[in-house]
């Protein structure tokens, strides 16, 4: 069966489109890992996906620390410490930013976030 030459062209276009779509999807899935919140306490390390909104309670020597993950950002909502200064800190979402509640021995960091996504003020922080 003879085929018109345009057939080869159509096939190549379809192949090209499929490869382009795969590259686009790969790029999207690999960069969409919005990172994880890591919580270090006196008794161990905890980790949570930033992509899902949730409320977390962890225990420090002084008592309960209440952490909230919202819209891909994490902050300390309340903590059993005298000054409550940790609750004043801005929500964190990218690598190298952190929140600590020193009296209750709680440290919040972000892991698994690619460095390229950092903002300028994250570095100057």
């Amino acid at each position: 069966m003879k085929r018109p030459p345009v057939t080869l062209l159509t096939d190549i276009v379809i192949l090209g489109l499929a490869i382009a779509a795969i590259l686009w999807i790969s790029g999207n899935t690999l960069s969409s890992g919005s990172g994880y919140l890591q919580v270090q306490t006196h008794d161990g390390t905890y980790r949570y996906a930033l992509a899902t909104d949730r409320e977390i309670h962890v225990q420090g020597p002084l008592g309960d620390t209440h952490i909230i993950i919202e819209d891909g950002r994490a902050h300390i909502h309340d903590s059993a410490c005298p000054t409550k200064s940790c609750t004043q800190q801005r929500p964190i979402f990218s690598a190298r930013s952190w929140i600590a509640c020193l009296p209750n021995q709680i440290l919040l960091t972000i892991v698994g976030e690619s460095e390229g996504d950092m903002e300028v003020d994250d570095v100057t922080n």
Partner: protein, 370 residues
């Protein structure tokens, strides 16, 4: 049964034969599939009307569900989405472009759409959004295998005898005589109860107990237990849990970590899906009555498939020779000498119902006492 309906059922049965054959071909990796069952779908693109084509698609998905026993589980939704979406995409492409597109182009487009649809449904019904991590690998493998499959289809369309025979209507497909297998309405009802019980069960220990019992019920129902699929399911869910950390870190590997909460979630999900699969096997084994026109054509498909597989077992030579011989033999109604088939044992209904009661009691007690 009209000639078209017989043709539809026959082609659908061939897709079933090819999907069982796919297991016979040695593969370096279990998830690497050529998608042989899609070969007939490519070959009939030009000759079947949209309506006939859609019926073949449905029969293929439902037939595979009945042969593999996954018809009443989440796996059926995944396979249905893949088959129907890719089939319709290929048909649309071929109808609009006609001879301007080859079967290779159709095959690539179909595989791409199929994988996307399967990922989307898999993320909805079983695995959650983290399954998209597998997208690049799945789509790339699909691209390569669909290219090979499209090439095979083009070659076969030019060289093979059967496609021509199907088009030129020279083939008189006879209706095979098959005896009706026994129905077990009580087992079907009990299996449905099990599904409800599994969905309501809570807690890892209860789910593990329920899963063990469901495998026991599957053995009673006479369906073979297969170890690899549930193991793959368990493994993939545990791997995916790496991307949804939740709770205390148990083991940290670089930036990935196994966390207590997500492992418990993954195990629970795996156990629930495994027992639902076993329930689906029991439901299929109960041989539910197929009613109406759709039921009749499905029965015809399954009996063609039965003929094809017994006939295939009695052929000799290379795989392609055997497939060609089998198809011609069944199409021309030269049925293979009746091989003394494995006589199916009946289901012990009493024992099955006792098992169901136990599953329900355990599942319900987890709801009220834990």
């Amino acid at each position: 049964m009209s000639r078209t309906e017989r043709k539809i059922a026959f082609v659908a049965a061939v897709t079933l034969l090819l999907s069982t054959l796919e297991y016979l071909i040695p593969k370096p990796l279990p998830f690497l599939r050529l998608g042989l069952a899609n070969l007939p779908l490519l070959l009939i693109l030009d000759t079947f009307s949209l309506k006939a084509y859609s019926i073949v698609l449905l029969l293929k998905a439902i037939g595979q569900g009945m042969v593999s026993g996954t018809l009443f589980s989440y796996l059926f939704f995944i396979s249905l989405a893949g088959t129907v979406s890719s089939g319709l995409a290929m048909k649309a492409l071929k109808t609009t472009l006609g001879r301007k597109v080859s079967l290779i182009g159709c095959s690539i487009a179909g595989a791409f759409v199929s994988n996307l649809a399967q990922l989307q449904v898999a993320s909805l019904v079983a695995y959650g959004p983290s399954i998209w991590i597998a997208a690049p690998l799945m789509l790339t493998l699909g691209l390569v295998s669909s290219l090979v499959l499209g090439l095979l289809a083009e070659l076969y369309l030019q060289k093979g005898t059967l496609p021509k025979a199907l088009v030129e209507e020279t083939l008189e497909l006879s209706i095979p005589l098959t005896e009706e297998a026994k129905h077990y309405p009580a087992v079907a009802f009990a299996s449905l109860l099990c599904i409800i019980a599994i969905i309501t069960a809570e807690g890892l220990l209860v789910l593990a107990l329920v899963t063990a019992l469901m495998y026991f019920l599957q053995i009673i129902s006479g369906r073979r237990l297969r170890l690899l699929p549930p193991l793959m399911l368990l493994l993939s869910l545990i791997l995916l849990s790496l991307f949804e950390p939740n709770g205390k870190v148990l083991l940290s590997l670089g930036s990935a970590a196994f966390t207590e909460g997500s492992l418990i979630l993954a195990l629970g999900k795996a156990l629930r899906l495994m027992s639902l699969l076993a329930a689906s096997q029991c439901l299929v084994a109960s041989n539910p009555k197929l009613k109406g026109k759709g039921g009749a054509i499905l029965l015809l498909t399954l009996s063609y498939f039965g003929l094809l597989s017994t006939s295939f077992r009695s052929t000799k030579g290379s795989l392609t020779e055997r497939v060609d011989q089998t198809l011609l033999r069944v199409a021309r109604a030269e049925t293979a000498p009746n091989i003394p088939g494995k006589q199916k044992r009946g289901i012990n209904t009493g024992l099955f119902i006792a098992g169901t009661v136990l599953v329900s009691v355990i599942a319900l007690s987890s709801k009220f006492f834990l």
